[in-house]
Subunit: 189 residues, 2 copies
């Protein structure tokens, strides 16, 4: 609060108390077009397989943290159980995701990628790698640091915590005991 009060806002940055109209409009444009094109590659691959972006998210976070439970995945994605179910069930039945009951708490289902799931995730990953590598190379390392900083700043505290948990070097986590039997609640009554 002791840094002056240039409320009229000048060029980008300064010590802004608020953004000039044009600066925000630019940010809106950048995020709209950038995010759209960032997801376009995987979207196209997924569409061929009758899947969508939601499937990719599950594959991505399971690739990042094998052994996540359903509940943990739900809190990361911040969607409802039913929404996750509509995506997760086909992934399990299609042989992309494996489930293993928790050792400590057998109600939990620890999720992980099967080899087929890893292969698909890898394919989507490589597609996105092209896009991001190009952007990073064009922009340079300093810009990349800035990009990360700003993106993190856009997040709510909840999302920042979720990222910390994901990024943490490690966690005990059940190493996805490949218990072949799904043994789920039972699809048909």
């Amino acid at each position: 609060m002791s840094e002056g009060a240039d409320t009229r806002g000048g060029a980008a940055g300064r010590n802004l108390l608020f953004l000039r109209e044009e600066e925000l409009r630019l940010a809106q444009d950048l995020l709209f077009f950038g995010y759209r094109d960032f997801t376009a590659g995987p979207d196209a691959i997924l569409a061929e397989m009758g899947m969508g972006r939601a499937h990719h998210r599950v594959l991505h976070f399971l690739g990042r943290r094998p052994g996540l439970t359903v509940g943990e995945l739900l809190s990361i994605l911040a969607i409802t159980k039913q929404s996750l179910s509509r995506v997760l069930t086909p992934l399990v039945e299609g042989g992309f995701v494996a489930q293993a009951p928790g050792r400590a708490d057998r109600r939990q289902r620890h999720l992980s990628l099967t080899p087929a799931g890893e292969a698909l995730e890898r394919r989507l990953f490589e597609r996105q790698r092209e896009t991001v590598t190009r952007a990073y190379r064009e922009a340079g390392p300093v810009a990349v640091e800035g990009f990360r900083h700003v993106m993190r700043g856009l997040m709510e505290p909840e999302a920042r915590r979720a990222m910390e948990r994901l990024g943490a070097p490690d966690r005990p986590s059940v190493r996805a005991v490949p218990l072949g039997k799904p043994g789920l609640g039972g699809k048909a009554p």
Copy 2:
């Protein structure tokens, strides 16, 4: 091709030919969480009014470039006419968007915000301004420059061209002649 060949990739940046796994995973996380929270504010406001993100996009681009024709808007959003229609029709009927026939080509419909549309767009804008201002202030001006550079790099050439057109200082454009009569093709046969 003359920039060395450090294919093993090192720390962030360098002159990367490809990204280390962890760097890309981080970028994926940042874009997912960041974009989600960036849109969360407006989404909540819109939901109260029975609208969605697609409505916001229309309001945003019309706020930025009053007088856009339907065709121009379609090419910016890169969606189909039918998808736009489902969003645009309620906005027109709800009194948020006005249409004016083109002077040169009377088949065209030049779109602009009504006062009610401007008010709504402003409300969504102010909500997002809070989010982005916070992120920019935390990150600082250098980071903001980097953020912009990277986001632009994520875009396909097509989107970059669209942004240039939007950002261009001006364009002749019909100044949205407030011709009261919609005079549309006729809703009922």
